[in-house]
C-alpha cells in the first residue's frame, strides 16, 4: 500500500504527471482512501518540492512541473473525494492588484495552495478592490491573497483592505500579500495579517491565517 503512496510522492517530486495520475488510479483501485492518497502521496510530495525550492536546491522548472503533476493527481482524485467529507483547509481568493500584469508568482502560489488542500479562486491580473470583495463574498473566503510586483502597484494593497472594511468583511477575512517589493514590515505597516516570501512559504502562511480565523 505504502508503495503506491511512495511512488506518488516520488513522481510528484520528479514532476512526472503521467506516473502520478497512473499511480493515483492504481492506489484507488487497491482501495486506499482518497484522503490518504491526497495527504500522504500528493501533498507530501509537493511539500518536499516546496522545501527544496526554499533551500535553493530545486528551481522554477521543477516547481512548475511538480505543481502541474500534483494538480492532475488531484483532478483524478476529485470524483472520489466528492462523496467523502474532506474538510478543505480553507478558501482563498487570489489576484494581482490593479495595474499589475504580473502573474507567475501569483499562479505558483495558487498552484501550491491548491496542491496543499485549499480551494482557490483566481481572479487573474489587474484586479480591482471591488472584484476582490465580490469574489470573497461569493466564495465565503477566509483569505484574500494579493500579489504585487511593483512598488507602484503595492500601494493599492491598503485600498483593498479599506474596501473590505467598508463592505463589512474585514473582520471575517484575513489578507495575505506577496511579491518582489513586499516585505513583512510593509505588511505590518499597512495592517494586513499575512506575508509570504515565496510560493512555498505562502502555504505555511495560509495555514497560519486559517488557524487564526478558526480560533475566534
Amino acid at each position: 500500500m505504502s508503495d503506491y503512496l511512495n511512488t506518488i510522492t516520488g513522481a510528484v517530486q520528479k514532476g512526472n504527471e503521467k506516473l502520478v495520475v497512473q499511480t493515483v488510479a492504481k492506489a484507488l483501485g487497491a482501495g486506499i482512501a482518497p484522503q490518504e492518497i491526497l495527504n500522504k502521496g500528493l501533498i507530501s510530495g509537493i511539500q518536499a518540492v516546496g522545501q527544496l525550492f526554499k533551500d535553493g536546491e530545486a528551481y522554477l522548472p521543477e516547481v512548475m512541473i511538480s505543481t502541474r503533476a500534483t494538480k492532475s493527481g488531484i483532478e483524478k482524485l476529485k470524483p472520489h473525494l466528492a462523496g467523502v467529507d474532506i474538510p478543505k483547509k480553507g478558501t482563498v481568493v487570489i489576484g494581482s492588484v490593479k495595474g499589475d500584469m504580473h502573474d507567475i508568482g501569483k499562479n505558483l502560489v495558487r498552484l501550491m495552495l491548491e496542491s496543499n488542500g485549499f480551494e482557490v479562486h483566481d481572479l487573474g491580473v489587474d484586479v480591482s478592490a471591488d472584484s476582490f470583495i465580490r469574489a470573497a463574498q461569493e466564495a465565503n473566503a477566509e483569505i484574500v491573497a494579493l500579489s504585487a510586483l511593483l512598488t507602484t502597484t503595492m500601494v493599492y494593497i491598503p485600498d483593498v483592505a479599506k474596501a473590505l472594511e467598508q463592505a463589512g468583511l474585514r473582520s471575517k477575512v484575513k489578507i495575505m500579500i506577496g511579491g518582489a517589493p513586499i516585505t513583512r514590515q510593509f505588511a505590518d505597516e499597512v495592517g494586513v495579517e499575512g506575508y509570504g516570501e515565496d510560493c512555498a512559504s505562502a502555504v505555511d502562511e495560509a495555514d497560519r491565517l486559517v488557524e487564526l480565523t478558526r480560533r475566534r
Binding site: 535553493g56 522548472p61 512548475m64 512541473i65 502541474r68 499562479n107 489587474d126 507602484t152
Partner: protein, 380 residues
C-alpha cells in the same frame, strides 16, 4: 596628464588602476534612468528640454548632455533601431505589439509596459517555431545610422563608446513563449525549448553580425542582456544551464568575438554567483548590474573571489539604499562598493539597474559625487 574618459575605462576593464573609478549613466539599456525619476534630475540641473525615450517598455530616457557632463559620466552609448518592416503596432488604448508579435500594456499609473501576450504560448510544436515569421535580419532599420553615430563619438569625443546588440536567446524566447510555458518546457519538453532557443539564436546572431559589421571596429564595449538570476539563486539549475544554455551562449559569444575586440559587458540580473565561473569561461569581461542584495552577490564576496578575472559594472544597491536610504547611507554604500570592487581596477560605478521612480534626486547626486571623489586611486 589626466586620462581621457576612454583611456580611464579601458584601463579599468584591463584590470589596471586608472586615475579614478569610471562612472556610467545611460550608456546601456539597463544603467540609465526611468522617465518619471528623470524629471527630478532634470529639474535639479535646470534642464527643460523634452524627453526622448531610449527603451520603450522600461521607459528609460536619453540623458541630456549637460547632465552627463556635469556628473562627468565616462560613457556614451549607441543603440541600433528595430526593423523597418515590422514597426510597433498600437493595441487598444494602452498597449502595443512589437516586431516579434509580443504585446505589452501600460495601465495608467504604472511606470512600465508589461508583457500580456506571447505569440508562441500554449500547445505548440517545433513546426510552429520553424514557421515563425522572424523579422529579416538584413532589414536596414537594424543598422541605420549606427556607423555615423559611432564615428561621431570616436572622432569628436573622448568618451568610452558602448554598442548594444540583441540578447542571444533567453529573453526573446521568454517573451515569445510566455514565461510559464518557457519554464515548463525546460522541465517537461526540453526538445521544444532547445528548438526555440536555436531559432531565436539564429535570428539574434544574424542581427548582431549585421550591427557589428558596421560598428564592431569603433567601439570599446559591446553589451547585451540575458537575465539568469532571481533574488535567491539562478532561474534554472546550474546543471540545466550548463547543458542547455551554455553551449548556445558560447555560439553567440564566438560570433561576437569574431566581429569585435571590444570588452564584452554581459547584463545579468539576480543571484548568479553559481554561474559566474561559467560566464567567465564564455568570455564575459564585465558583469552588470551586480545585484548586490541578491543571494551571494554582495561585493564583499564577489570582489575577493572574482576580482582580476571579472570586472563589475553597477553595484550601488537599488532595492533598498538608493530609493529608501538617507544621503549619508548612499554615500556609505558607494564607499563600501568601491572598497570591495575598485582595488586593482575592474570596477565601473553605477546603480544596480535603471534608477527608478521614487529615488530622491539627492541620492542620485550623492551616488555620483561620492563615486567620483572616493573613487580616486589609490583607493584608501
Amino acid at each position: 596628464m589626466p586620462l581621457s574618459h576612454r583611456e580611464r575605462v579601458i584601463r579599468a576593464l584591463r584590470h589596471q588602476e586608472p586615475d579614478r573609478v569610471p562612472l556610467d549613466l545611460g550608456s546601456t539599456y539597463n544603467s540609465g534612468i526611468n522617465v518619471i525619476a528623470y524629471q527630478k534630475l532634470k529639474a535639479y540641473f535646470g534642464i527643460e528640454a523634452e524627453d526622448t525615450i531610449l527603451h520603450k517598455w522600461q521607459r528609460v530616457v536619453v540623458v541630456h548632455e549637460p547632465i552627463l557632463q556635469a556628473l562627468d559620466i565616462d560613457f556614451r552609448g549607441v543603440f541600433p533601431g528595430g526593423p523597418d518592416s515590422k514597426p510597433d503596432i498600437p493595441v487598444g488604448e494602452d498597449g502595443y505589439q512589437d516586431e516579434f508579435g509580443v504585446v505589452r500594456r501600460k495601465p495608467p499609473g504604472v511606470p512600465y509596459y508589461d508583457l500580456v501576450k506571447s505569440p508562441l504560448t500554449g500547445p505548440i510544436t517545433v513546426r510552429d517555431i520553424v514557421n515563425f515569421p522572424w523579422p529579416d535580419p538584413h532589414d536596414p532599420g537594424y543598422t541605420r545610422g549606427v556607423r555615423d553615430k559611432l564615428l561621431d563619438l570616436k572622432e569628436n569625443t573622448d568618451y568610452a563608446i558602448t554598442l548594444r546588440i540583441p540578447g542571444a536567446f533567453v529573453h526573446t524566447s521568454q517573451f515569445l513563449r510566455g514565461f510559464e510555458d518557457w519554464f515548463i518546457d525546460l522541465a517537461a519538453d526540453e526538445k521544444l525549448a532547445a528548438a526555440l532557443f536555436d531559432a531565436t539564436l539564429e535570428h539574434s546572431s544574424a542581427v548582431a553580425e549585421e550591427i557589428l559589421k558596421v560598428g564592431g571596429d569603433l567601439i570599446d564595449v559591446v553589451h547585451w542582456g540575458e537575465d539568469l538570476g532571481m533574488q535567491n539563486g539562478p532561474i534554472v539549475s546550474p546543471e540545466l544551464f550548463r547543458r542547455l544554455f551554455k553551449p548556445r551562449l558560447k555560439k553567440y559569444f564566438d560570433t561576437v568575438k569574431k566581429h569585435t575586440s571590444a570588452f564584452i559587458h554581459f547584463h545579468c540580473c539576480g543571484s548568479i554567483y553559481k554561474l559566474l565561473d561559467d560566464l567567465i569561461e564564455l568570455g564575459v569581461d564585465v558583469i552588470h548590474p551586480v545585484q548586490v542584495a541578491a543571494k551571494n552577490m554582495d561585493s564583499s564576496i564577489l570582489g575577493p573571489e572574482f576580482g582580476g578575472r571579472l570586472s563589475f559594472w553597477g553595484g550601488v544597491d537599488t532595492q533598498r539604499v538608493l530609493p529608501s536610504g538617507t544621503t549619508e547611507e548612499v554615500k556609505a554604500e558607494v564607499r563600501r562598493r568601491i572598497e570591495d570592487f575598485a582595488p586593482g581596477g575592474g570596477y565601473i560605478l553605477g546603480a544596480v539597474h535603471n534608477i527608478q521612480p521614487g529615488v530622491p534626486v539627492e541620492n542620485i547626486i550623492a551616488m555620483y559625487e561620492t563615486g567620483k571623489e572616493y573613487g580616486q586611486y589609490p583607493i584608501v
